[in-house]
């Protein structure tokens, strides 16, 4: 393929003085002064959080108030910056959720490490961890920003459930077998 050399257009005299260009630049910036500003007055005005926004990861309960996480530790495994730490535990044999058997004894997310990638939400088989719309965190110490289980549940609240897997399981267990 032949090489085609493109010649730069020589500058006109006016262009060489820069002055018309500077003037037109000045006009553009001047016009900008009178444009409306786009600043959001942040703490008073809040940005609109779009659907699917990935804010702080939180733990949620199902509508019956049962903690959904069963400490399967998949989120801990998948988390790229290793922000999640879980110490699994066995649930009380007596309580309402005894049939779930397993739940997190301790669950902490180091928000200083979290990169809000949402992998934890994606991997969770129980839909127990959600990146919700909270995005501004602050604390005075590093420890404060390692969120513990109670804090994560407080942030997460309750989300609607489509499956009620464990409730169904419990009722099946109670109904027993048509044996």
């Amino acid at each position: 393929m032949a090489i085609k050399e493109l010649k730069r257009k020589p500058l006109t005299f006016a262009e060489k003085t820069y002055l018309p260009q500077i003037a037109s630049g000045l006009i553009i910036t001047l016009k900008n002064i009178f444009r409306p500003t786009i600043t959001l007055q942040y703490p008073e005005e809040r940005p609109e959080i779009p659907e699917g926004y990935r804010g702080v990861p939180t733990l949620v309960k199902d509508p019956n108030g049962r903690e959904k996480c069963v400490s399967c530790q998949l989120c801990e495994f998948v988390c790229p910056p290793k922000a999640i730490r879980i110490i699994p535990g066995e649930l009380d044999e007596e309580g309402d959720s005894a049939h779930v058997e397993k739940g997190p004894k301790e669950f902490e997310i180091d928000m200083l490490r979290c990169i809000y990638c949402g992998y934890c939400q994606e991997v969770c088989p129980e839909e127990a961890i959600w990146l919700q719309d909270e995005f501004s965190l602050s604390g005075y110490t590093r420890e404060e920003l390692i969120y513990q289980k109670d804090k994560l549940y407080e942030l997460g609240g309750t989300l609607p459930d489509n499956h009620f897997k464990w409730d169904k399981k419990k009722s099946a267990e109670e109904a027993g077998n048509p044996h």
Partner: protein, 569 residues
Amino acid sequence: MSDEQKGDGLISVFIDGNEVRCKPGTNLVDLVDSVGKEIPHYCYHPKLSVSGNCRMCLVELGMPGKDRATGKPMLNNDGTPKVMFFPNPAIACGTRTSPGMRIRTQSEMVKKCREGVMEFLLINHPLDCPICDQAGECRLQEFSTEYGKGYSRFIEQKVVKPKRTVLGPRVMLDDERCVLCSRCIRFCKEVADDDVLGFVDRGSYSTLTCYPGKQLENNYSLNTVDICPVGALTSLDFRFKMRVWFLKETPSICTESSVGVNTMVASREGKIYRITPRRNDEVNDTWMSDSGRILYKEIEDENRLTGYASQGAFSPPDAAILQVQKYFESEKIAFVGSGGNSVEELYLFNRLSRAAKSVGNYLVSHIQEGDELLISNDANPNTRGALSVGFIESLPETELPDLASRIDSGDVDTVIVYNEDLIVAGISSEQLAKVDIVYFGTHSNATSEAASVVVPTLSVFEKAGTFINQQFRLQKFLQAVPGPDGLIDDLVSFSQLLNHVEPDSGPLETVEPIWAELSKEVSQFNDLSFNTLSPEGAQLDGAAFQHLPFCEGKTLHYEPAAETVEAGT
């Protein structure tokens, strides 16, 4: 060319069209595994009898046709043998090879079979994976992703079965997850000789249970957890502690007895979570004892030594080693080693004793009652190591009357003790008080309390090394977790001490240079080195010690030599 003509006793079979040479009568599952392919299976286990009840291993089989009338092979037009495939699939686990056999492991029919079996297995299977300890090493999970349908057509209610059934002190059963493979039943019956498990009820209601009034409590019960292909049997010790995908596995050797069971130590971030057996067909097959699995708890025991001490006061490592050097100047020094230490450590300990002109080397024997399976009578895992490196010449005894009398007579005024308690070995505390004691060891005991200098050492999980088991098999273990903060490897301490008393001994701080010396010095170890030692270990020539009356009786892969038994009894 017929198989007999090749004369090596092997036959040809064809796996998916590729010729494979094997011994006649090889199990198909093992054969296919050996060529790097997989036949999925649940109930088959190489060390158990074949029961053939899961049907996961269905494959298509074919044989070269023979003319019924003449008995001659049927040939295709081009002269190749005509292969007749059976119309129905057959289970691979129940089939042994015969000459000319054709196996199809990937055909449409085989795939359909697997899908069907998977679908039936999953019909009543609970959606428990998030809370199931087996997740991550579960055959059902693996095979349903690989060979399953990917979705469920079953909308009826699942069969409910008991969950959280405690089968024994160490094993818990979740019947919903059981795929009724009967591996656990066969293990108890065939290997552990404790036939306590069985199925009750029929069809999808079949349930695994213990015989009424009995428990799964034999010392091998946790092997059922290992061989259970699903999460039905779980270990109470490991239950809900850690997911298996976090665990780092390090090959190790069990120190419970001189059998030298091969193990895998699973740890995460420096903490051990469980120990499982590692297959070694010469030693332990795929089994290990329950009591061996909890040995890791010792390293977190409260009387674990974690700090160096000199004259009862805390001392930095360097200062403690300097102190030890002083005691080495004594003319009347005796060395007490332990059969729990590795070959390398005992070698250096022996070098030290020679360099310090020891007046006597002692090893304390620990006799226990074996179970004729995987626990032998000798609780020292490395008695033969001590013999091989020359630390002792005759078999050790449980008590040390010789040392006691020497202390009493004043022939010994300094004793270097390595991981043994002299009180247990029959030395009285008055006698202890008469001598200076330097104690190397992992845990504190009466001797360490009487010691002038205490040097804490590492446990088998925290260092690398080798043991020689009762079969004179040299087996290596690797470091699974780091030792407690600030502890120096035993080999490093010994090497420093050795450099002090024998300045030209060179650095011997890791196993490799020690093996370089060992392979030169000890004829048994010629041509061996630590890095090249295979995971299965190396069989040494124990002829030099054959005359000794070892205390071990029969165990799984060990027969005591006839005259030894006589001498021993």
